[in-house]
Amino acid sequence: MSVDFTIQFIATSHKAPTPMATQVDDPRIIEFDVRTDEMLVNMGPQHPSTHGVLRLVLRTDGEIVSETTPHIGYLHRCAEKIGENITPRQWIPYTDRMDYLAGMNMNLGWALVVEKLLNLELPEKARHLRVLIVELNRIASHLVGMGAYGLDLGTFSPFLYAFREREKILDLFEEACGARLTYSYLTVGGATADLPPGWLQKCEAFLDQLLPVIKEYHTLLTSNAIFVRRTVGIGVLPREMAIDHGCTGPVLRGSGVNHDLRRDGEQRYTEMYDGYAFEVIVEQDGHYPRDHDYPPVPKQAVLGDCWHRFYVRMLEVMQSIDLIRQAIDRYSTATGSFGEPVKLTEKLPKGEAYMETEAPRGQMGFYIVSTGNGAIPWRARARSSSFCNLSVTEKLCRGCLIADVPAIVGSLDVVMGEIDR
């Protein structure tokens, strides 16, 4: 923004005014001529509120953003090219590094699509183990989403609290598979190992301890007056636009679309959740399912705004806790093994398979093409949920204030590792 101060002096004497004589007798004769020009502001790729290496070029006029152009690709690691040179099980670690906050969910997506191509059925115990693990990872991922969103809006403490709880989930994961971030635990044919003895008790103890903490989070953010004013009515995403842009996950449900792949997905995926009781988190008549314990929807909130997207995530944490509890019961009574991983060089039949799963950030799809020559796929493709979710930024940020850009981008909760692959 350029500001021109034009100060007009009226000569008070016949002498030309010296610099010392610039005092003005009558303040009314000072004329401030404030003009604003269009200006391009570069936000990122190393900006703390862009969630990784995202670069936004904002065309601004004063405080108003008239155009936003996202530039992505800074984290492009050629995962798809690598995928067509190694076997599917060898590609599992690469899927970890896509959405690195929800590595388990990425492993599951790829494992399921390869199983679909191989036409592999899993023992019951392996299915419950998978539900248990991916829902636990969903909590961890949403906690980071919540904490980081607080950071975007200028509050630091929720982030610390969120990481405190997430740390305990990572400890549980470390005990189960040895890794804290890039797990490669769920794999084609099941999991690489069974849960260690005593793990389920620790998990249950953690859930008991997490429940009251969630209420603290709601006090810290959801019903906080500043937070509400920063998010309510900002970045409203109508449901038609959300569907048209392929938005999925909490972004889609935050716009009031009743769609969750755990219920509506392909049979191979939904049968994992067969018999589990859960409700899709979506607003109906101004209420969310089982929201009586939590802050009510603010009066000014518009369906599809930043607040709703955030709230859907918060309630999904509760939903995941429920699902994990059910999974623990089923897992401990299930028969069969935790699954046997297929050979590293398992021969792939000719064909192609595509499948999407409900990852924390939306529908993560994988596509595998095999020509039937050996164990290496002809093509491995990842359809990223954040990629589609981010593509609405341009429309959401049109006409908003600069300060609202981090609020809008943060509410989409994107992970750049998944967008750039």
Partner: protein, 178 residues
């Protein structure tokens, strides 16, 4: 599908005739092949038909069928081509559908001339970024796309990395490539 695959295919064929060039209903994910010139009309029909309502485009992928090794290429049962695969789904009907467009690897068989397919970004906005990605990595030109430029690779990158005959550049702005 709400209706059976055969009935659906017959319905599409009676409406679009020879613009539906093939299908495989026994594949894991059954697919329908559409001629490039009929793609936009077919997609608009799939989206707007009150019975079908494929309102979401999940994914656009490019697949390059090309075997650089001539010995291996002789044994293969397919010809060289590039496929663009569209995965659609309907949120209201809970159905999904796969469309394929088969293109020559190069337009008019002149290496370097990108094959062309009409853009469906006017039908689903998802296609905007997805088509940019397919153009960037696979080298397919989407005619009628509002802003077809590279999305993942830098703007001055040469070549399309997911082509099977792609070779890494020796260097890029002083960075060693190979």
């Amino acid at each position: 599908m709400v209706m059976s695959g055969e009935a659906f295919l017959e319905q599409l064929k009676s409406k679009f005739g020879d613009r539906i060039t093939g299908a495989n209903l026994t594949a894991i994910d059954p697919w329908i092949e559409v001629a490039p010139e009929g793609l936009v009309a077919v997609c608009e029909h799939l989206r707007d038909d009150p019975q079908l309502r494929f309102d979401m485009l999940n994914c656009v992928s490019g697949v390059d069928y090309f075997e650089p090794d001539e010995k291996k290429a002789k044994k293969l049962d397919w010809d060289r081509h590039v496929e663009v695969v569209y995965h659609l789904s309907s949120l209201s009907n809970k159905t999904s559908l796969v469309l394929k467009v088969i293109l020559p690897r190069w337009k008019d068989d002149k290496p370097g001339q990108l094959p062309e397919v009409p853009s469906v970004s006017g039908v689903w906005s998802t296609a905007d970024w997805h088509e940019r990605e397919v153009f960037d990595l696979m080298g397919v030109w989407f005619t009628g796309h509002p802003d077809l430029r590279r999305i993942l690779c830098p703007e001055d990158w040469v070549g399309h990395p997911l082509r099977k005959d792609y070779e890494m550049p020796l260097e890029y702005h002083g960075i060693r490539g190979r």
